[in-house]
Symmetry: C2
Subunit: 117 residues, 2 copies
DNA sequence: TTTCATGTTCGATAGGTGTCGAACATACCC
DNA sequence: GGGTATGTTCGACACCTATCGAACATGAAA
């Protein structure tokens, strides 16, 4: 995996979202790789169940630095969207983009995650 | 990911298969992790399309040492089965076991792999 | 038995990954 | 402004991983 750079578009006033890859740019290997981790799998499960959530509301049993790292991996792989509101970041699943790019994949993974517990 | 040890059962005469985890022991994170790699995704795709194949018949553009490594990862994550025949190893997808453990997951991934090309 | 083909394992290497604490950046509130 | 809350980034660390060539193991073929 190499360092990634995403075009964030012309900056007008303030960004309200963090940069993320376009829906067409998602690769299966990246998505699978991002989900090959218990903590991130747990995050995705929660996001699906609860919808948008604040980053800090997740108790993953790791430091906030590590938590921040996991959210970055998910965002850069195209799985999540991060909305900025003040000092808080709200994360949500890009279910529509994922469905458009890889139909049926996320539902199957979410279902499998249930069977995994 | 820690070192794994699988019970191969009582050795009678000669082993005809390499050790692999039981269907119930598969974890989603391990499966996702194993598939978070282009080469291995390609292998899984081919195995699904062609059925059982000899390890050496795959041209992944890597050395045979690396190829052997990828097959080991797939086998230890529970995705493939390896049958021994002389000096050759024949690999196949454990589609039944995967379907039993994570219904619909493999088909969705295979479908996504098509969309990824 | 010698040779060959198919793989695995070893040792090495470069780079990735999860983890942490500490420092930094920001926005909000009093 | 000063303090507080929410996150990100940095530097460090241990470990994992993809990769290779070379050596080894093993079964088949000549």
């Amino acid at each position: 995996m190499s360092v990634k750079q995403f075009y964030t578009g012309p900056v007008t006033t303030q960004a309200s979202e963090l940069a993320q890859p376009g829906a067409e740019d998602l690769t299966l290997a990246d998505v699978m790789h991002a989900l090959g981790d218990r903590a991130r799998l747990e995050i995705v499960q929660s996001l699906h169940a609860d919808g948008e959530r604040q980053c800090g509301s997740f108790d993953l049993g790791v430091s906030k630095a590590t938590r921040s790292h996991h959210f970055k991996v998910l965002r850069e792989s195209g799985i999540t969207n991060t909305r900025i509101d003040g000092t808080a970041r709200f994360v949500s699943l890009r279910e529509g983009d994922l469905e458009a790019r890889f139909p049926g994949l996320l539902p199957a993974i979410l279902n499998a995650a249930t069977a995994d517990a």
